[in-house]
Symmetry: C2
């Protein structure tokens, strides 16, 4: 894991305490909403402004450091940009997990059928996570 200061410098953003904290929260949570960023940030920086969170997240998105993830039936969450992956969302506990799967075949087929030149894919799968399956089985 790269130092957060370096990460910011590489994207031409100054390393302010607020930004370092945002990066750290993104690392820790994997996926996090603006509201949760704000609430957690306030523990350490009680006078932080929501505007600061928005401005920074938007700058990080523009600079390619962060990515917005739009999920069905919930507010957008944010994650650090890393290798391409897809998102699994649990219907019961709402946890979000990344998994890495080859998507070449589906993309190839989509290109063949549609004639599009595909540049990026966004895949979200909704279902029940192993923990919640277990709980459901025990309750039955």
């Amino acid at each position: 894991m790269k130092g957060s200061t370096v990460l910011l410098k590489e994207h031409e953003l100054k390393a302010t305490p607020q930004r370092l904290k945002i990066i750290s929260m993104l690392h820790t949570h994997g996926h996090i909403s603006i509201e949760d960023l704000y609430n957690e940030m306030r523990k350490e920086f009680p006078s932080v402004s929501l505007a600061t969170i928005y401005k920074n997240i938007n700058q990080m998105i523009q600079s390619g450091l962060v990515q917005e993830v739009k999920l069905p039936s919930q507010k957008p969450v944010y994650e650090l940009v890393k290798e391409p992956h897809l998102h699994m969302v649990c219907d019961k506990c709402h946890k979000i997990e990344d998994i890495v799967i080859g998507t070449e075949k589906i993309i190839e087929e989509a290109e063949k059928i549609s004639g599009y030149k595909i540049l990026e894919s966004f895949i979200t799968l909704r279902g029940i996570c192993p923990d919640c399956q277990k709980k459901a089985a025990e309750e039955a």
Copy 2:
């Protein structure tokens, strides 16, 4: 194509002129935003209210007649529920197309890797549509 009145009745919604128009616009456009629904609806029903559009779309979603589609970098659009499909979005002209592709393999693999029981998949592919590829080639 089923009559819109019947479609509404099947979903236990009264067939008002506004609702019939919404269904017709969904048919015609395939995917349409609230704003576009409103602007087009006003041509025929000048005094229609945005609230009516929202209320109706939300009811149609709840009754399983309509589905919300969240796309990267744009407002949500709405479509009639039909067979599962994925969305192709053109970077240049922003057109949205549906294509039907088997997703069993990717879902199977995701289930195996993650242990999730998957219930639904949301797949969006971003790229350049054939028309815009052609245009780009001609300009070069």
